[in-house]
Amino acid sequence: MSSIGEIPGSAAPQSPEAEIKNEQRAAGVRRLIGQIRTARGVPKWILYTGVGIVLFFLILAIFAPLIAPYGFADSSSGGVDFPKQAAPSSEHLFGTTVQSTDVLSRIIWGARTEIEVVIVAVFFSLSVGVPLGLLSGYVGGKLDRGLVLVMDALFAFPYLLLAIVIAFLLSDKLGQGIITAALAITIVYIPQYFRVVRNHVISVREEPYVEAARALGAKRRTIIGRYVFFNVIQNVPVVATLNAADAILTLAALGFLGYGLQPTQAAEWGYDVQRAISDAGAGIWWTGLFPGLAIVLLVTGFTLVGEGLNDILNPLIRYRRVRKPEIPAEPAEGEK
C-alpha cells in the first residue's frame, strides 16, 4: 500500500494519482449500479420493461436470418409466388404487401436496420458530443462561448428538417445507405450530449478532488480524462437512450419521405408505412399497422429505459416509499 505522503514524480509516480483515480472511477460506477439494484416500485418496472423490449428487438435484429421466415425483398419462395396484399394467414402471419413481400419478415429484418442505424448514430454523436462538451466545459473562455453559440443554434433548428436536408445532400455524394442515414441523425444530436456534459463539467470542475489533482500537478488531459469524465458520464446513459428513441423516429421519418434507405438495400419500417397509406383507403390494414406498431414499441422501449434510469439516478425526483411508523404507547423505561 503506497503512502500518499510520497513526493509525486519520485520513486513511484503513479501511486497517489492511481489511488485517487481508482477510487473516483469505482465510486462513480459503483454508485450507479448500486442505485439500480436497490430501486423499487414504479421506476423499477419502467426500467425492466424497457430493457425487456429493447432486448427483444436486439434478438430479432441479431438473429434475423434465423428467425425471419423469408428475406425482406422476397416475393416468392421455393418457386411459389407470394400473393399480393393478402390478409394474414398461416403462411404469412402478418400478411403481404402490394409488392408481394412478407410483412412479418420485413418487420424482423427491419429491426436489424433500425438497430444498426441507431448504434452507429448514437456512437458517432457520443464520440463527438461528449469530448467537445468535456473540453468546452473544462477549458471555458472563448472556445466555450463559441461552441455554445454554435451548439445552441444547431439545437434550435428543427431537427427533422436538418436530417432531411443532410440525408438528401449526402445521398448525392455517398449514396443512400446506413451510413448516410446514421450521419444525418448523428449531427442533430451532438448538441444534446454537448450541453448535458458541458453543464455537468462546469458544476464539477470546482469540486475539491479536481482541485486536489491540479495541486498534485496532474496534466489537464489527465484531470479531464480520469476525474471529471467518470463523474460526468452519469448523465450520458439517459441521454443516449432518449437519443436512440429519437434516432429511430428520425430514421422512420426519413424512410417515410423516401430519403432513408433504398428498399433493395434493407427493410425499413417507416418506408413500409408510407407504402401502406394508399392501402388504408382500400381497407388493407396489415401492411401499415404492423410496421407502425413496431416503431411505437421499439421507441417506447428505449424511452422507458431512459425514463427508468432517470427516475432512479436523478436525486431530485427519486422517491422512496416510506411507512408511517408506529410509536409505542410508552417509551421503554430502564434497562434496554
Partner: protein, 341 residues
Amino acid sequence: MSDAVLDVRNLRAWYGTEGDPVRAVDGISFEIRSGETLGLVGESGCGKSTLGRTILGLLPEGAATAGEIRYRDRNLVTATPKEVRAMRGPELGLIFQEPMTRLDPLVTIESHFIETLKAHEPDVKEKEMRRRSLDALGAMGIPPTRFKQYPHEFSGGMRQRIMIALALVLNPKVLVADEPTTALDVIVEGQILEILADLRRNFDTALLLITHNLGIVAEACDRVAVMYAGRIVEQGDAREVFAEPAHPYTRALLDSIISLATTDLKYIPGAPPSLIHPPPACRFHPRCPNAMRVCSTKDPVQVAVAEGHVTECWLHGPEDQIPDGGEQPLERDEIAVAEEA
C-alpha cells in the same frame, strides 16, 4: 406570572424510512408562557427543526406524532389537520430559516399578505387587509412604497423581515422561529433579534427561538432548553443555565464557544448520534467526559437542580435510583465515534 400558553408533554415525532424510523423528537416536555422567549439549542441534526414543525403540524406524509401539545385547551397532536390549519396564522406562527426561497417569486408581497388574510378572515374588506399588512410591514421597517414589489427585489434580511411580518399579521399567540438568522449576516442578525425582542415587550407573544448559536440565546431568551439526540437534557432560566450548567453537554457547548480570550479550540469528541438507533440509556454517554456505569444502562431521570432549572443526568441523581457500582466511571477504550445520523 402568566399561565403557560403552550404546554408540551412527552412529545414524540418519528419519521418513517424504508427501515427503522428516525426518532427526531423522542419524549420532549416544556412550556412557554405568554410574553416569554424560550431558546432551544442543539447541534445540527438533533431534531430542533422537527420540533418546530411538529408544533405547527407541518410534518411530511411519512411522519407520526404522539404525546401532547396543549394550546388553549386543545391537544394539537390529536386535532384534525383542518383544525390545525385554521390555527396557523391567527394562533400559531412559524418563521423559517432560509428567507431567500420562502416567497413565491411570481407574486408580489401584497399578494402574499392578501392571500394570508383571506385564508383566515375572508370577510374583511381588501382595503382593511391592505392597511393591516402595511402596519405589519411598517413595524418591520419596510416602507409602503415597496408593498407591490416582487420578492427578488429584496435582500435576504428584508425578506426575513417580510416573513416575520407575514407571520405576525394575524397576531398569533405562539411564534416558532426556526433559526431565523442563521442564513443572514451579523448586522442583519442584530436587527432581526431586535424585532423579536420587541415582540416580547409589546405583544405578549410566546416565542420559541430555535438556534444553534448560544450567543443569541444569551442575548434574546428568557429561558433555554438544551436539546440532544431528540431529548431535552437541560432546561431553565437562560442566565442561570449559562452560569451554572448542570449537564455535561451544556458545559461542553459553553466551553466550545470561541471568544477573543480563546487560546486553543475545545470541541466535543465524537459525532452527533444516529436518531434511528440512538445510544442506549443516556444518549450522551458515548461522548461524555463524566460518564458513569449507570449512564449506559439506565435512562436518566429528570431532576431539579434549582428552582425552575431541571436536567436529565445521573450526575445529579436521584441517588436512590442508581444501582450499586453504578457510580463508577464508565470504561471505554476511546470515545466512540457514533454513526453519522
